[in-house]
Symmetry: C2
Subunit: 522 residues, 2 copies
């Protein structure tokens, strides 16, 4: 008899799971599929600085350890950290901290099983094939960027074939590339291959040319190899963690692969999923892109991580945290504040609880998770579990898209925006996720040109730009052009449009984002 173990291969200190194979197997053997688990989304306040997280990974690990300590069947699904900025010292890893850590944080932080490197090689190979197509007259303009996971400001703008053709190019960080987005969204090797084939390689005499028109797609899928398989590992306390696909919720998807979450939901009762940066980044992308447009599960509850200091220290930015909590509650997702206390902050519990009550929040969950780990949370989870229970019995929302009609807000949230004018979709995002009303969504000076070019590029491929799902590319530390401005003056400036026809996304640069984010090494 086939079991899950048949889809698992030991891979050094972790295991790799053939998620495509296992999910296919369950589809073919529906009797072996148990009632799917409930998904909990871990998101956070918008961080004050891009380089300082609020502790989402630490919280996710502590929460799963606490749930397991209560005898529940809970697991975590994490994004893979970006080795580049960890290696360079620009940012800590994303493998938890202190007692709330992975058993092998060094593996997660330093390249895992080579997944990111395989994606980097595959995306760069696509560029090489595009170059060859230029030589052979099949292309005259290349539209896919080279990638590097190692950060280097000097790579943001480069010229290749120096001294001869001197072609201007840009290099972007690997986790933000279209191939990573395709890997996050694809549910089979066939889908992945078809999406690579549908990537726009460039143009010839202004006509778009897709990779499927001139390359052997098997070369790319071979190269990706094991990168499509989630890694399975444990926390220091022994809880199960799946880790798969890239970070950077501000400039890309910033969520784990859909198959890693679906695999976990097929096997466990509670699946705690981390999405990147603040609720305006990863959570917005999970809800509005993954769940609504790509059929990913809807959260049964959310945990919104913050630090006492983030919540308190900057009065001009204090509106952001309640905005995030209220947005999720407004979508029918029970949203639990979680305060990740640092050393010396234990005394602030009372004050934090009062603030939460004043703001109409659910009772906050608090703990020094670095110092105390999961046990700090174990006794505080009654309300959280009651909310999950309520979701399970149908009195709340459900994670199962098939049950989408049950809750009004969820049904509405899962109604696709495809076909809606792109500008209207962006105004909707600005309003619902950033609190900026339609009239204050402003087109920057070159936006109209960029939009027209993107529309043209899509139409010539028989696509409507409005059918691609908008993906905001923005700073992790701000939701609007100036988050410190009074509410009525906050705006969002639209800067640039870049269709990713393979991923089915259209990237739209907002506010102060770096379009080619290669951080300086610090």
């Amino acid at each position: 008899m086939t079991t899950f173990d048949d889809f698992v291969t030991p891979y050094g200190l972790v295991s790799k799971v053939d998620a495509f194979g296992y999910l296919d197997y369950l589809k073919a053997h529906p009797s072996e599929r148990k009632r799917p688990g409930q998904m909990v989304l871990v998101t956070a306040d918008t961080p004050l600085k891009a380089s300082r997280g609020e502790g989402k990974t630490t919280t996710t690990i502590a929460l799963v350890d606490a749930l397991c300590a209560r005898g529940l069947d809970a697991v975590a699904v994490l994004r893979q950290p970006s080795m580049g900025i960890t290696a360079a010292g620009s940012k800590g890893g994303a493998s938890g901290g202190g007692k709330s850590s992975l058993a092998h944080p060094e593996l997660a932080d330093w390249g895992l099983c080579g997944e990111m490197a395989a994606i980097e090689n595959a995306q760069n190979l696509l560029v090489s094939f595009a170059e060859k197509a230029v030589d052979e007259g099949q292309l005259d303009t290349i539209l896919v960027p080279r990638v590097s996971e190692v950060p280097s400001r000097a790579l943001r703008q480069i010229a290749v074939d120096r001294g001869k053709a001197n072609i201007a190019e840009r290099v972007v960080l690997t986790p933000t590339c279209e191939l990573m987005q395709i890997l996050v969204l694809s549910r089979s090797m066939e889908e992945l291959s078809a999406r690579v084939g549908a990537m726009t390689a460039g143009t010839l005499d202004g006509q778009p040319v897709r990779f499927g028109d001139f390359i052997d797609l098997w070369r790319i899928t071979n190269l990706l190899g094991g990168a499509v398989q989630p890694a399975m590992m444990t926390t220091q306390a022994g809880s199960t963690v799946y880790m798969h696909a890239g970070p950077f919720g501000n400039v890309s998807l910033g969520i784990p692969s859909l198959v890693s979450v679906e695999l976990a939901l097929a096997r466990h009762d509670i699946v705690v999923v981390e999405a990147g940066y603040g609720a305006d980044a990863g959570a917005q992308k999970w809800l509005d892109i993954a769940a609504r447009e790509f059929g990913a599960p809807w959260p049964a509850a959310a945990v919104v991580v913050t630090r006492a200091t983030t919540w308190r220290d900057d009065p001009a930015l204090r509106w952001r945290y309640p905005f995030h909590v209220n947005r999720l509650e407004g979508l029918g997702i029970p949203a639990f504040p979680l305060v990740n206390l640092w050393e010396g902050e234990d005394g602030e519990r009372g004050e934090l609880e009062e603030t939460a009550a004043t703001l109409g929040f659910r009772k906050p969950i608090m703990g020094n998770l670095f110092r105390d780990g999961g046990p700090a949370l174990t006794p505080q989870l009654d309300d959280f579990l009651a909310a999950l229970e309520a979701g399970q019995t149908g009195s709340g929302v459900s994670q199962d898209p098939g049950l989408a009609e049950q809750g009004h807000s969820q049904a509405e949230s899962l109604h696709s925006h495809k076909g809606m004018d792109l500008l209207e979709q962006l105004k909707w995002v600005a309003d619902s996720a950033y609190g900026v009303r339609a009239e204050r969504v402003i087109a920057g000076p070159s936006f109209a040109d960029s939009l027209a070019q993107a529309q043209d590029l899509c139409e010539k491929q028989g696509l409507s730009l409005n059918d691609l799902v908008p993906l905001a590319v923005k700073s992790p530390a701000t939701m609007t052009d100036d988050d410190r401005a009074p509410e009525s003056e906050r705006s969002v400036t639209l800067k640039k449009v870049e269709p990713h026809t393979g991923a089915g996304l259209v990237q739209v640069n907002l506010t102060t984002s770096l379009t080619t984010p290669m951080p300086k090494i610090v």
Copy 2:
């Protein structure tokens, strides 16, 4: 009790071996070290085209399968193929062919366990740190190149920070970088780390600056992670194969890591080691660099692979194959011609045997290894095994450097050239490995300048350039400026010198080599 298995970790379809740990363990427990096995070097004729091998990997696999079929304890040690050119379709993989293949050629050809990608990331991270050092005034000129395994001609010459500083840079293929050379030559993580620290990052006001002066070396060793561990796998017939480190014997070392060979010799009686391209490339590098200067084992025998066509078709190049066989024999290494027959060539056996006899060779071993695999060789190995036996009993040369004094030619061959004038060393290589006498070794127009700069760079670090081991960088398809010229007119032009102070090598570009070999995708 500790066993070898304690140093082995399953890693997907292969296993990874902690070779550093195992060899350390044997050093600390000499009683558990058995008499070391004998090393057989598989080399080849200089190929007619760079893109077409003679079948060394196929031969290595067939030979090991044949030896195992005779009940002998034989294994193979292979270099890792370059994924980039395989993926791009420029060259077949290096995982054997037909019945003489690895059990999982797709793994070997498409990135193995991410070793090459980790080396690529680590070398590129070094460049990023060098950039940071420029920003901080610790460097003004960067001397380490970025690398890419994916081939792209346009990357040979690039400009970074386009539109601002416009700094000219070059990108070289990952397998050829100094970090790969360090990985091939290092016998412990401490040695590796010290060698990275001794790499010349660049200069400040003309004074060389080493990486050890300004970076955390642990970041590089962390990033390399599992890349230091050889992979252990099997042939289709079930023989054991170790695979570790990079290809390209023409422009780099092109040999497996020293620890992978030493690990195999500590565990098996016959260890068949493949070195890259022709005998003028990989074999020259094994003998003159690895064995003579870095204490690697001396071959007990060699197999010199050729194809019937290479041997026959081009009269002007027909001198090369006997030259290689005779050089090895002259060094006291029994050198067996091996003809890798292709379809339709079975009828040529008689003629090939006659030619071999005329040339004074040992009886050639022949077979269609793609079609027939190891069994084609099994009955032909009596002479070969007798030669090994003779070596074992001391009547010939030995692979054990400790016994170097036994054979005159071996002792001479293992006498270090360190301290000898670099130009004299190069003349020695040209004479012994390419058949070009000293007076026909010519300095190209910019060689003297390049040599002076390299000497200066070394002296300012308290090193003598003459203490670095010369490593030829050349075309795989030629040994001299024109191999078709009559012997007395053949020359070698010296073009450029590039010290690799970390690896302890000095690269010298000869003949028609590409200094930054980024092949065109074909």
